[in-house]
């Protein structure tokens, strides 16, 4: 499947990925409007971790044996048959946080108002995830894992 | 093995020497050397004994070999030398040990101008130059590491070195036997007495010098030497406006 | 000797100052008898006349090898003068350096279409022994070439347009067939004939600028333009060749002289230097050939002739037809028995040789070479003697 590869040594900590993730998952999809009106209600699916000069932007790894899918009691967490992405169906999520408990990279967050889980969906609506598109330093690369 | 340098151009002579070592020789004696340049360039091992006066850039970029000169040497001895040993049974010309990064150079008598310029140490590379006689001006300019010792053995009352000693020096240490006048020193150098640790490291070097040239180490005592060290590792740190 | 050999005053025909590099389209034709047989210039005149459309009347000329057997060890200097004064100055230079064995006006036939002709003289000379001694490091050819260079550089109204042994160049402003008639070319017999019809575009044409261009035994006729002229010229300057005529044909002759005579390169290698294979082709060659090609290209970059050209080069023992490496100018060749024909158009060959044994189109960068057979030169001379 196509996944986002993280190149830690290229991450410059600008957080444009977070910004564009938020915009992409906003209703308006307009950056200024999204920030003015929806900023509080969206949890980006990508988070930049920083320590000294080291940083990287981490989002769901869409694991092959995704522990979050195994741990999900409602079936809300599922693998999209087409893209193979791990997707959280927020309509079915009841917020039991089992997925949060088992995600080894802490890529699943308690979503808007702490009701349901929120995570990277690889920007189902875009051809290439916006974090990748907007990374100015190619610290995020969207590629087929056959390349691995 | 022995090579006669008479009538051989330096390029061919060097080829012969390299070939001799490549064919397994441990030592090559070169007779009738007279101005042949670049002897021992880049050599990693083996020993060259030179009878005569080798030309400039003796042992340039040398990387572990040993050269014994039974005679005087010209300019540029040990240019950018990395490792090895050069022993000169006589005097040497200018710019001895330029940018020398490692290895040792022992000169029985005096050396010319700019000896030890840009000498620098790095990790296990530690260059040493010992001059038995005196050194002319600009000794140890821009020196960044290693030991430069001038023993002033043959010259009576003369000062061990000329003027502008250690200009731009930012590492390493110079030991001079005898006195130094303040005007002789570059601005970047400080003058001190030797401490016990200095004497120890200098002592072993002097021992080696005495072994090479059959001298008596007992003639040296700590009090005869002064020590020159850089005042800063950043001599020109405040030269510019940012 | 002061009067032109035919009517009308000499005039601007010699003015070559401030000219840019000549640019032109042209017709070329060359015939060689490889067995050394001598034949009349009438043949080549017919051939070149066939391509009248390619010329515009502003230049025509011939080179002929084997025409002066009685002077075969003398340099035949063909010289044009603007004025008697120029002739005096020039002859002084010649006399200083050479023994003149014979001197005369070049025989011409008055022709009213030939206008503004210069004074035309020829001298059969050898370099003086004392000069040979003085310049012991130079060959007689070198000294002769220097003399020609000196005259052509220093004397503004004097111009040596032919300087080989047992050969001669005849050229001027006009259609080639008129020039041929003017110089009475049909009266000479040669084993190589090279002809040129000229179509200069940006100059009115001047006598010296007509083709063939010659230096010592070399003569060159040329169709096209050498885009690399600027560097070829500077490259040649490195070796003492100073291009005085601002014509790219000149550099071709010099390069031939340099590569073949001075550098002693094999003919094929010299051609390779002038029209080398592409690097991609070189990559595909067998190792030894690749090394040769790489070396030649690397060393002789300044001799590479770039731009569209086809040339026929004559020299004492042969004739070479030669194209730029991507063949931007036309060239056809044919053989019939011992004769080699090279021309811009096939018709120019069939005009004079209706049924050749073989006809082919030249390949870019690959020389067409005619060589005198062993002993042929002697037989050529013998024929005349006989």
């Amino acid at each position: 499947m196509k996944r986002i590869k993280i190149n830690e040594q290229h991450c410059i900590g600008c957080r444009l990925c977070e910004i564009h993730c938020l915009v992409q998952h906003s209703k308006s999809k307009k950056i200024i409007k999204a920030f003015r009106e929806e900023r509080e209600s969206i949890v980006p699916g990508i988070h930049v971790e920083e320590s000294g000069y080291v940083s990287f932007a981490l989002q769901c790894r869409h694991c092959e044996d995704a522990p979050c899918i195994e741990a999900c009691m409602t079936g809300a967490m599922y693998r999209d048959p087409e893209t193979e992405a791990v997707i959280c169906d927020q309509d079915r999520c009841v917020g039991c946080w089992m997925c949060v408990m088992v995600c080894p990279v802490a890529a699943i967050r308690r979503g808007p108002e702490d009701q349901v889980a929120s995570k990277c969906d690889l920007c189902m609506e875009a051809e290439i995830p916006v974090c990748v598109v907007n990374c100015p330093n190619e610290a995020l690369v969207y590629e087929d894992d056959a390349v691995r | 093995m022995t090579i006669n340098a008479t009538g051989v151009y330096y390029r061919q002579l060097n080829e012969q020497i390299r070939a001799a070592f490549n064919n397994g020789a441990d030592e090559v004696v070169v007779e009738n050397v007279c101005g042949h340049r670049y002897l021992g360039t880049s050599l990693r091992s083996g020993r060259i004994v030179i009878n005569g006066v080798p030309g400039n850039d003796l042992g340039a970029f040398m990387d572990g070999a040993e050269i014994i000169v039974r005679g005087n040497a010209q300019d540029g001895v040990g240019n950018t030398m990395n490792a090895g040993k050069i022993v000169i049974h006589g005097h040497a010309g200018d710019i001895l040990g330029y940018a020398q990064r490692g290895g040792k150079i022992f000169v029985q008598d005096s050396v010319g101008y700019r000896a030890g310029i840009h000498m620098k140490a790095y990790h296990d590379h530690f260059p040493v130059v010992v001059v038995g006689g005196t050194a002319q001006d600009y000794l140890g300019e821009y020196m960044a590491g290693g030991i430069l010792a001038v023993l002033n053995l043959n010259s009576g009352d003369q000062l061990a070195a000329g003027d502008y000693i250690g200009t731009g020096m930012h590492g390493g240490v110079i030991y001079l036997r005898g006195t130094v006048e303040a005007y002789q020193l570059g601005q970047e150098v400080g003058l001190e007495c030797l401490e016990e640790s200095d004497w120890q490291s200098l002592g072993s070097i002097l021992g080696e010098y005495c072994t090479e040239f059959d001298r008596d180490p007992a003639q040296f005592c700590q009090g005869d030497f002064v020590k020159l060290t850089p005042r800063s590792t950043r001599p020109y740190g405040r030269l510019y406006v940012y | 000797m002061n009067t032109p050999s035919c009517g009308g005053p000499p005039g601007k025909s010699m003015n070559r100052r401030d000219r840019g590099k000549d640019i032109g389209g042209c017709a070329i034709s060359g015939i060689m008898a490889e067995n050394g047989e001598l034949f009349s210039g009438e043949l080549v005149m017919r051939s070149i006349a066939n391509m009248r459309e390619r010329a515009n009347g502003l230049g025509g000329g011939y080179a002929a090898y084997g025409i002066y057997p009685q002077h075969k060890d003398h340099y035949a200097l063909h010289v044009m003068y603007e004025s008697g004064q120029d002739q005096q100055t020039t002859e002084q230079i010649i006399q200083q350096n050479c023994l003149i064995h014979e001197a005369e006006p070049i025989p011409t036939h008055p022709l009213h279409v030939i206008k503004q002709r210069p004074l035309l003289h020829r001298y059969f000379v050898t370099v003086k022994p004392e000069q040979l001694e003085r310049y012991y490091d130079l060959s007689e050819d070198d000294i002769m070439a220097n003399i020609v260079m000196t005259i052509n550089t220093d004397v503004s109204g004097g111009f040596v347009f032919s300087s080989g042994k047992n050969m001669g160049i005849f050229k001027g402003v006009g259609y080639p067939e008129d020039i041929g008639q003017f110089f009475r070319v049909d009266e000479y017999d040669a084993y190589i004939w090279i002809a040129h019809g000229r179509y200069p575009t940006n100059t009115t044409g001047w006598w010296g600028g007509a083709h063939p261009f010659g230096l010592l035994e070399w003569s060159v006729v040329h169709n096209g333009e050498i885009s690399s002229y600027g560097i070829n010229r500077r490259y040649l300057a490195n070796f003492g060749y100073y291009c005085t005529l601002q014509t790219d044909t000149e550099v071709i002759a010099y390069i031939f002289d340099l590569l073949l005579r001075k550098h002693d390169l094999p003919l094929e290698v010299a051609c390779m230097a002038m029209a080398p294979p592409f690097w991609a082709e070189i990559e595909r060659m067998a190792p030894e050939q690749r090394e040769l090609a790489r070396t030649i290209r690397t060393v002789y970059g300044g001799a590479l002739l770039n731009g569209p050209f086809s040339v026929v080069v004559g020299h004492s023992t042969g004739m070479i037809g030669f194209n730029d490496r991507i063949k931007l100018r036309p060239m056809v060749a044919a053989r019939h028995e011992d004769r080699l024909y090279i021309a811009s158009e096939e018709a120019a060959i069939t005009e004079i040789c209706p049924k050749p044994d073989v006809t082919w189109h030249a390949q870019g960068g690959v020389p067409i070479v005619g060589k005198l057979k062993n002993g042929a030169e002697d037989s050529a001379v013998a024929q005349v003697a006989g």
């Binding site: 996944r3 590869k5 993280i6 190149n7 830690e8 988070h47 971790e49 920083e50 320590s51 080291v54 940083s55 990287f56 981490l58 790894r61 869409h62 694991c63 092959e64 044996d65 522990p67 195994e70 741990a71 009691m73 409602t74 079936g75 079915r92 009841v94 917020g95 039991c96 946080w97 089992m98 997925c99 949060v100 408990m101 088992v102 995600c103 080894p104 990279v105 802490a106 699943i108 967050r109 308690r110 702490d114 894992d145 691995r148 | - | -």
Partner: protein, 429 residues
């Protein structure tokens, strides 16, 4: 007799994982499921959400409606298996059928424990809380009888989830826990207190160090619960949530080895070849322990079922061992506990950070510089990292002082581990 290439007893998480595991290896051989309950596969843990009305019928199902067709599963509902004959490779159902199999997966789950010696425990109004039908019965009972008060026996996970639902239904509730704190199996005192406070703020009465001795009835109807200490608590409903026992009766007296549950090896195979067990019924290898244990939690059930299914279909998949862990949202307070949270080992190092205001509590248990257990109350966002560290047995000496900090993250971890996680595409867990 028709033989079933793959026969699965059970229809919950382990069974479904078994189907999915088989299908990862074998695309088309038919699979047969024998289910005791009459429902399409549904999520057991959701019953508390269903009971409280947070989830409706349609959302109860664990897999989409066409799951069985998509996976070519022949599902036989309401068919309880009463015994397994491993020698003849058959199972016997309650209604007398014998069904032959090539490979069998026992994913029969567990049975809630109801202490038989408590008087009144068979009265109307006494329930357990493990199946959808349990939840339906409770809801029907509450509605029909106008229940006002309820007592939940057991302050473990099921007890608390049922409590929460009952509170949602508007009942006045009391929880009675035998141990000195609620969630005693996974929580320490501090975490339990924070949780208890949340419960109490929601109106729940929490009684620890206590248990129900008797259920007083009237006309078979529950009237009150009488505690060990003599205290009487008026109630119309009692829910027993004191644990689950594996359903091992069906293999009793067979060559299939059992202990507390059915013993399986690290391929989830029982002591008999071609017979596998997974989920709450299985006693499988466990992380942080040398013994095999029953750890009846959903993620383990899934993994076990999946491993069993893959191996049944011919793969050679290893079960790396279960880990005790729980994520519970207690009246809006998220909590997560993983691994060994209250160490009995002296050598363990314990790091804690408590903020009672938030409230937030973090506890990390380290043994030999490796994390072996963790509790998170309130701020649980990064808990998964610790689960990973426990599973992967990562030496955290280099980042120990960062473990409890605010911005602890993947970035704080040893570079090699981080590379594996971050530069690698996927993570094998």
């Amino acid at each position: 007799m028709k033989r079933h290439p793959y026969l699965i007893i059970g229809n919950s998480v382990a069974a479904i994982a078994g189907v999915e595991g088989i299908r990862q290896v074998d695309d088309d051989t038919p699979i047969t499921i024998l289910a005791r309950e009459p429902h399409h596969t549904y999520s057991r843990p959701l019953i508390s959400y269903w009971l409280s009305g947070q989830v409706d019928d349609g959302d109860m199902f664990y897999r989409p409606e066409d799951f069985y067709e998509q996976n070519r599963v022949d599902v036989i509902l309401s068919q309880e298996v009463i015994s397994v004959d491993p020698q003849n490779q058959t199972v016997q159902t309650a209604d007398g059928h014998r069904i032959a199999f090539d490979k069998l997966l026992i994913a029969a789950g567990g049975q809630p424990i109801v202490p038989p010696d408590i008087p009144g425990s068979d009265a109307d109004g006494v329930f357990t809380f493990t199946t959808w039908d349990d939840a339906r019965n409770i809801r029907d009972f509450v509605t029909q009888q106008g229940v006002q008060q309820a007592v939940v026996v057991g302050g473990g996970l099921i007890g608390l989830k049922s409590l929460e639902a009952l509170v949602e239904l508007g009942l006045q509730t009391t929880v009675v826990e035998l141990a000195d704190r609620i969630l005693s199996a996974t929580f320490d005192q501090t975490a339990a207190e924070l949780a208890q406070t949340m419960l109490e703020e929601a109106g729940v009465t929490v009684l620890c160090n206590n248990t129900v001795a008797e259920i007083a009835t009237e006309d078979r109807q529950v009237k009150e619960a009488i505690l060990h200490t003599g205290q009487h608590i008026s109630c119309q409903l009692v829910v027993f949530a004191i644990g689950v026992r594996p359903n091992i009766q069906m293999v009793a007296d067979t060559s299939i080895a059992v202990d507390w549950g059915i013993l399986v090896d690290d391929h989830m195979q029982t002591s008999v070849a071609d017979v596998y067990a997974a989920g709450d019924v299985a006693q499988a290898p466990a992380l942080l322990s040398d013994e095999r244990r029953c750890i009846p939690i959903l993620p383990n059930a899934y993994r076990q079922g999946c491993v069993a299914g893959q191996n049944m279909a011919g793969a050679d998949q290893l079960y790396r061992g279960g880990l005790v862990m729980n994520a519970v949202d207690i009246c809006g307070l998220p909590t997560i506990s993983v691994g060994m949270t209250t160490p009995d080992n002296e050598d363990c190092e314990v790091l804690t950070a408590l903020d009672e205001e938030a409230p937030s509590y973090k506890k990390i248990v380290l043994c030999d510089e490796k994390v072996v257990g963790a509790i998170f109350v309130g701020d649980i966002d990064r808990a998964g990292i610790f689960t990973g560290l426990i599973k992967q047995e990562i030496d955290v000496a280099s980042c120990k002082e960062l473990l409890l900090t605010e911005d602890f993250g993947v970035i704080s971890l040893p570079t090699e581990y981080r590379k594996h996680l971050v530069s690698g595409m996927g993570i094998e867990v």
